[in-house]
Structure formats: C-alpha cells, structure tokens
C-alpha cells in the first residue's frame, strides 16, 4: 500500500505561478506526485460540490484559502510522503485576501471566485411575506432588535477524514474505503468525476469515528487518493491530520445575523424579521437540499405564534475554508433557533417579563397542530407547554430565581437560561428536497432466512448513533422477533440499497421508516403463507402479539420463525404468490418530522475573571416515540456538550490575512469532562402522525437547542451589569469584555 500526503497553501489568496515537483519525484520513496496540472489532464482538477458549485481538487489557477490543496505526494510510507512535501517548490503571487464577510460585497473587495460571473455573491434568498411583516412591525408596541454572530465552528469528529482507494486495473473496479456519511451519494459523484461506471465503484464506509456532518461532503483528499490509485494501479491511503481537518474540511455556521422581534405591550409575539450575511468560504460546498440555499433557516419563528415573518439571506464567498452546513445543525435550524431564542430573551428583558412566562404565553398550543408557520413549514405534532412546564418543574425554576436574587444581593452572579426549540428533520419529501439532483429518499432491503433470522440492509450509515441496535429493534418489533435475530448491514454500497445517507437527523425519520415498511411488507407476505398453513382465508388472520392469529381463535397462531421455514419449503402456495418473505422498500417521507424541546441551563459566572461554569443542564426532549431511550439519551448528552462547547469555547477564527488561528486542539478548544455537568433529562412523547412508528429524529436536537440556553444563561447572569447580548464564544475574555463595555455604557453601575 502506498501513502499519500497533501501539500497545502500557506496563503489565503494567491495566484499559483508554478508548481515544481521534480525534486519530490526524485525522492527514493516517492512513487508519484500529482499536481493540479496532472489532474487537469484527467479532467479531475475540479470537482462538483454537493451544492452545485465546483471546488478545486488541486489548485490550478489560484489558492483561495489557507490550507487549500496544491499537490499530492504518493510514497511507500507515510513519513516519506510528508518529507517529500518539503521538496515541492511553489511560486505564489500573493493577492489581497477577503477575510471579513461584511466587506465581501464592497465594490473594491478582492474577488475570490474569478472563475464565476457573480463576484463574491453566492446567492440572495428570502422567505416569508415582507409587506405583511413590515405592517405587523409598524403596528407593534415593542420592537427589539440585535446584531448577533453565530461564529464559525467545526464539528471536529475525533477521527479525521481519510480514505484508501484501490483501483484494480484488470477488472476496472474501484474500491474506496472512506469516511463518508453518504456513501451512495459519494459513489455517484465519483462516477461522474472519474468516468468509471457507477456499478464498478464500491464505497465502503464502515463504523466512523464520529461525523456530525463533517463527513457528508466529498473532499479533495478522497479524490486525490482515487486519482493516485488510478495512476499507479496500487492501493493508496490518505489520512489527514488534525490541523488539516480543522483548516480545510467543512466548517459550520458563520452567520452574521440581524434579528428583530415585534410584540404587543403585554407580551404577545407578533412578528420576526431577520437579515443574514452567510459566509460560505471559498467554494459553495454547503451540504443541504439544493432548493434551500440558506438551509431551513426560515423556520426561524421557532416555537411561537407569530402573525408574520420575513428573512433575507445573502451568501458570500471569502478566502476561508468552504462548507457551512455541518455540525448537527439540521440544515441551519441551529442558527434560526439561536436567533429567535436570543430575541425572545431580549424581549422579555425589554418588557420586564420573566422569560419562562413570555415563552409559555407565546408557545403554539397542542390544538394548533398540524401548524403551518408564517414561512410555510407545516409542523406535524407537538405539545409545547407540557414540555416547558416539565423542564421548569425539573429545574425548580421558581426556587432558582429566588436563589439568584439572594446571590445577586451577595455579589454572586448566577444565570438561568431557557431555550425552547422546534426542529424540522428527516429530509425529505422528494418533490422538495434533493442533493445534486438526487431525491432524498432511502431504501431498505430485508431478507428473512428460512430459520427466521433476518438481515436488514440500509442506505444510511452509522457514526456511533447505534443504527445496528435501533434498526434491529424496528424490524424485530414488526416481525415478532428478538433484536438479536436481526443483523443490520450498512456502509457498503455493494451490500446496501441506494439512499442519501446519515445527516440532518434523517436516519430514523426516513431510513427507519423504510425499514418498518419493508418489515410490514414481509409480514404481509407471511400472512399469505400462514393462511395456507392454517387453512384459513388470509383475511381471517390478524397480527397480534407478534404472531398471525386466527380471528376469534387466537391460540391458532403462527410466528415468523415457523412461517419463514414454510415459506422456503415445498408448501403449495396459491397461484401468483411467491415464496420467501424477503421485502424491500423505498421511503419518500411525506413531510419532515418536528422534534422539539425545552432546555434550561444554570451557570455561575465569575465576573472578576469572566469564567463561566455550567452548573446544571435540564433538557426535556420530545422526539416522538423513542425506539431506544438509552440511545436517545446518549444523543442528547452529546448535543448538550456541543452547546457548552459552541457557546463557551469552540470558534474557528482567522487573522486579517486569513491565517487560521484554530488549527489544532490547543487553539480550537473542546469541552472536557470538567466543563460538562451531569445533565438532567426529561421526556415527553408526542408521536409524529406520519412516521410509521411515530418517531422523529433526535440526533441534532440538543446541538440545536442548547447553545441559546447557555448564552441566555450567561447574559441573564450579567443582567445587573446591563449586558443585553454577548456573541459566542463566551470565553472568559469575551465575558469580561462584555461586562466592561456594558459598564462603560452605564457608568452608574448596576442597572437592575
């Protein structure tokens, strides 16, 4: 096996004058060096992105962000490959970099994408009724607005990206072992890119060391490994290091938002407006449904009744790593929830109302579901007040407020932050949602062996979410089997049906539904066989307690194990009835599912140092029917840690010339066991009316819902200083600055 390493640009923006790899090629351990020019000869120097743009695999004209791929060295061992990178000589002509997205549309801004006609503008997009919203705002008693930044962060799965490409020249088959959350979609892209027939490409993406959205896009490293294997006819391994991971693979967020909320004097929320500048980096590689350039951001009225809402989003290119939709964000609902939950807290402050009371007053009522929000989403089901009340009860909210008042009197600053979120997950209905023209439906193939053991092959792929457990449970419960008798196959395109993969909390809503539909088809096939065995009409059978039973005589019953044996036997079946019980399904969801939750975060802030300690985190989640509560809770645990990390420390930042300042775990801080408290979890169950078992997605709920709870808590703690908002990450320095700048605005000191 050969080992690849990537030479990356030290500059954020520069013309590539020349790349001289001759010295590297002369290194005794080097087998090949690929440059942009080499790939251009194969038509592989540029690749399509998952959002309809193109991205350089190896730079041919310019480098557009620090860390961009320039050349790929293939050597007999990994250390030698790295050595040879030093031998490549690149001549750059530096160009002025565009780093601050706010200046991207200035007339004199450097143009990042001179290969495109639109300058630095990626898109302009809007949703909602502008006139109606403006009218609501004009008539409102109170309008509160704020600029806020959802900073660039990175999902940082503990395993970085990597691949082994193995092109077998005789059979013309390419096998790629890779870190992919969407192996089938990747296969399509590699077929388009390489010209290899799709059926000769196999993508194997076994258990991944985390993904969180970071492993949805295709990265240049994968393509380089393929190109190198095509060139050498040998397997080529490429694994990026942590700095490469943080500097070049997909970032998340980076939304500059201005939000406004309008309300009546007594606290009725009337409308919302938002204007957003979205930093997409150097290429538009956001992984999301193609009709939604701002993802599902326009669900930004959240969980509240609003008469009207309107948002505008402008996407821009900058000289930073590409990406934008990643990190458990439910296609930008993370940003939307943050916006509305911060605004709601600000409104409560303005009105002098308790934030819990304001939320309770404006939450959608159970009888309003299915509810169509002002920007057109139809929420499937919910009982929001019940979830909020449970969270308040678990927290002992009134007692916490009393404690807060006592502490404040002593000069101690604790915060109580609420957040209520509604997500829309499970993309998606094929008429509305696709990626690269591929509709977001997913398949499931179920085989039931003669002894009643079953194998379920699914199109989605696990990165630790426990598909092997949950999906086995789904099938087992439909067929009256033990989950131990169901094997789940995933992550191998040769062994699984087509589907778009795991992200956007879509596994259970889409693929889980496909598994259930396939199992129910198998069960219906079993019914026909059981009817023959019991010598009754199939209509006289009912499925009860895991068996087909004769109506009115439930002791006459057959389970799947007995039926499976008979279905494979010489038992004579009615004309037109095939034997066996195997079944397949492709599930096209009728709508998204809309999980929701109520979170409360209690913090203690040291106003001398700015340090924030998260004391308690109460999280009530409603993801519909819980297939495996232990796994659901595990997902929530993770998301709450994300919230603490994103709100308090995780930020990918740059200096003014585009040097990434967060290129290692020493600079890009992640929460440890000392920052994450033991969470207190609660559950309500409001089934989805359209999912076969009433389940909704849960994988991203806590990542979406928790950051505003943390920020609201810190801002609440700092209210006595007059702090009304502070941007994430709320590092000690930023908290300290927020206090000092508020004090300088209110020199008299405490304002409340």
């Amino acid at each position: 096996m050969l080992h690849g390493a990537i030479l990356r640009s030290p500059l954020a923006h520069a013309r590539v004058v020349s790349v001289d790899a001759s010295a590297a090629r002369a290194h005794p351990a080097v087998v090949a060096v690929l440059t942009g020019a080499d790939l251009a000869e194969r038509g592989m120097a540029w690749m399509p992105t998952v959002f309809g743009d193109v991205q350089a695999v190896l730079a041919t004209d310019k480098v557009r962000f620090q860390g961009q791929e320039i050349a790929f060295v293939v050597a007999t061992d990994r250390y030698a490959a790295r050595d040879a990178l030093e031998l490549i000589s690149v001549e750059y002509e530096p160009l002025p970099p565009l780093i601050d997205a706010v200046t991207a549309l200035d007339p004199d801004a450097p143009v990042v994408r001179d290969d495109l006609p639109g300058g630095n503008r990626v898109f302009d997009w809007s949703a909602g009724d502008k006139a109606a919203t403006d009218a609501v705002f004009a008539g409102a008693d109170v309008v509160v607005g704020c600029d806020m930044i959802y900073p660039r962060s990175h999902p940082a799965p503990l395993e970085t990206c990597g691949a082994i490409a193995d092109f077998e020249p005789v059979g013309g088959r390419l096998t790629l072992w890779s870190t992919s959350q969407a192996p089938h979609a990747h296969r399509v892209m590699y077929a388009v890119l390489t010209g290899l027939p799709e059926h000769k490409i196999r993508i194997v993406s076994p258990d991944l060391g985390g993904g969180f959205g970071a492993k949805v896009p295709v990265y240049p490293g994968y393509v380089c490994a393929i190109a190198a294997s095509l060139a050498t006819g040998r397997p080529v391994k490429w694994v990026e290091d942590r700095s490469e991971n943080l500097m070049s693979t997909t970032f998340a967020r980076d939304y500059h938002m201005h939000g406004e909320i309008a309300a009546s004097a007594d606290g009725e929320i009337l409308g919302l407006r938002a204007k957003v500048l979205a930093d997409h980096g150097a290429f538009n590689a956001a992984a999301q449904p193609s009709k939604f350039p701002a993802g599902f951001f326009h669900i930004f009225t959240g969980s509240y009744q609003a008469r009207a809402a309107y948002c505008e989003v402008t996407g821009v290119f900058t000289n930073k790593a590409p990406g934008g939709v990643a990190y458990s964000c439910s296609f930008r609902i993370t940003e939307a929830v943050y916006l509305v939950e911060r605004l709601t807290d600000m409104l409560a402050r303005e009105l002098g109302m308790d934030p819990a009371e304001l939320r309770m007053r404006n939450l959608l009522r159970p009888e309003q579901f299915p509810y169509t929000c002002p920007t057109g989403w139809q929420y499937d089901s919910g009982d929001y007040p019940r979830a909020l009340q449970l969270a308040l009860d678990m927290a002992g909210y009134d007692e916490l407020r009393r404690e807060q008042a006592e502490r404040r009197a002593r000069g101690e600053y604790m915060g109580i932050g609420l957040s209520f979120f509604t997500e829309g997950v499970g993309a998606g209905p094929r008429g509305h949602m696709d990626i690269m023209g591929l509709a977001m439906a997913d398949g499931a193939d179920l085989r039931v062996h003669p002894t009643g053991k079953a194998v379920l092959a699914i199109s989605v792929q696990t990165q630790g979410q426990g598909h092997e457990t949950t999906f086995a449970q789904l099938v087992a419960s439909e067929l009256g089997l033990s989950p131990d008798d169901v094997d789940v196959v995933h992550g191998d395109t040769d062994r699984t049906p087509f589907g778009l993969g795991t992200y956007g909390s879509r596994s259970t809503p889409v693929s889980g539904a496909a598994a259930v539909v396939a199992a129910r088809k198998a069960r219906e096939r079993a019914r026909v066989v059981a009817a023959v065995m019991l010598e009754v009409d199939a209509d006289d059978l009912e499925w009860l307690d895991g068996k087909w039973r004769v109506k009115g005589d439930p002791d006459q019953a057959l389970g799947i194990v007995e039926i499976a044996r008979a279905a494979h036997s010489s038992l004579e079946l009615p004309d037109g009835i095939e034997g066996h019980l195997d079944a397949s399904a492709v599930y096209n969801p009728p709508n998204l599912t809309f999980p929701f939750g109520a979170y409360i975060c209690v913090t203690d802030v040291d106003t001398g140092t700015g340090e924030v300690k998260v004391r308690r985190f109460i999280a009530v989640d409603d993801c519909g029917v819980r297939i495996n509560p232990m796994i659901v809770e595990g997902q929530v645990h993770r998301g709450l840690a994300d919230g603490i990390g994103i709100a308090l420390m995780q930020s990918i930042s740059f200096d003014e010339i585009g040097n990434c300042l967060s290129g290692s775990f020493m600079d890009y801080l992640l929460p440890t066991s000392l920052e994450c408290p033991s969470p207190e979890l609660g559950a309500t169950v409001t089934p989805s009316p359209h999912h076969p078992v009433g389940a909704k997605g849960i994988g991203e709920s806590a990542t979406v819902g928790s950051p505003p709870a943390v920020v609201n808590s810190v801002v609440d703690a700092l209210a006595p200083f007059g702090v009304v908002h502070a941007d994430m990450p709320l590092t000690p320095a930023n908290v300290w600055l927020a206090i000092r700048s508020a004090e300088s605005r209110h020199p008299s000191g405490q304002t409340s």
């Binding site: 503990l158 060391g209 000392l674």
Partner: protein, 201 residues
C-alpha cells in the same frame, strides 16, 4: 534503530526510524489498531496506552523511548475468556458511541481504578479530563467507570487493588498482570485464569 518493546506481555523487536511515533509503531508495525490517533498534540487522548504503569499519549512519545519497556494497549485489557470490568461497564452503560476515544478512555479508567478503587464522580472526571469525547458528553463514560469500580470491588477474596506503584515491590510484568487479574469477574463468578498463557496476549 533496533528496539525491543514488550507489548501486552509479548516481546517485539523491530528496526525503526528514530522519529517513529509510538502510536504509529503500535498501529502500523504491530497492527495493534485498537489505539487510535486523533490530534497529534496530546490533547485528545485517543492514543492513550500504558508505558510501564503510566498512561501516556502515544502520539507524542517516540517508539524508541519505549525500548526495553512495557506497553499495555487496549488489546491487553481483556483476558482470553472475559472482558475487563471496565470494558463490561462501557458496554453496559452505553459508554461509547462512535468508539474512537474509547480505547484511551478505558486505559485511563483501568489505571484510575487500579490506583483508586473507590473513586468519586469528581475523581473520574478529573482522571479523564485530558481526553476528549465528541459523542457522549462524558456522562456515560463517567457512569461506566463508576460501575466498573463497583464490580472491581466485588472481588470475593484476596487483595484486589494492590496495583502498580502501591506495593513497592517487584514490577516484573507477570506479577503485575497477575495482580491486576485478581479483580473479580463482574458477577463474582468463576475464577480468573492465572496461567501466563491466559494473561494478556
């Protein structure tokens, strides 16, 4: 350079480059891929193994520094016939999701319990605070280690936690491994295998 490292009680002699990292030696040379590599900067701890009796981050230790010393990896945790109580507990408590941090977490957990058989939650959080998990929020890892402590402590007879560094006597590897193996089976069941052949590979 020619080095001999005792890994999980077996001796391995290899000629390696002086700059070869211990984690690459373990994974690439010995094919012990249980230990993972995650960051290069000693921050994440996916690569934690024991060098003699101490957990270390093998991404920032050179293989040559392990010459003549003992390395214990996650592959050395289970005996031939049963999992270590730490491993049992991680399985029982949903202590892992993607599993990438798990080998390092378990090696640290084993070390903690060998040195502090009855840790508090704060002790556990402190012990694993130099390691990163991106999936669990640490909650179920902490629960796993506390559960393992309970099952370690359920030893029916004999000293249980006279672990490394506490007895002040010989540190020969067989003796040390035997002591560690005296931890009772999780359910207080059958005797643990004591023969050298059954001691970690």
């Amino acid at each position: 350079m020619k080095i001999t490292v005792t890994v999980n009680a077996a001796d391995y002699t290899r000629v390696v480059e002086p700059r070869l990292l211990l984690i690459h030696f373990l994974r690439d040379e010995l094919r012990l891929t249980g230990s993972h590599w995650g960051c290069d900067t000693s921050n994440c701890g996916a690569c934690v193994v024991w060098l003699d009796e101490t957990p270390i981050k093998s991404c920032t230790v050179l293989a040559v520094m392990a010459d003549g010393r003992r390395v214990t990896t996650v592959e050395g945790l289970a005996s031939a016939h049963r999992l270590d109580p730490v491993q049992e507990a991680f399985a029982a408590c949903h202590g892992l999701q993607c599993g990438f941090c798990t080998p390092g977490m378990m090696m640290t957990a084993r070390w903690l319990l060998d040195n502090n058989p009855d840790p508090t939650e704060a002790d556990v959080r402190e012990a694993i605070s130099g390691q990163v998990c991106r999936c669990t929020g640490y909650e179920n890892i902490v629960r796993s280690v506390l559960r393992a402590a309970k099952h370690d402590g359920a030893a029916a007879d004999g000293p249980v936690h006279d672990g490394p560094g506490h007895d002040g006597t010989s540190h020969d590897k067989a003796g040390k491994h035997e002591r560690r193996l005296r931890a009772a089976p999780p359910q207080g069941g059958r005797a643990v295998h004591q023969g050298p052949g059954d001691v970690r590979r």
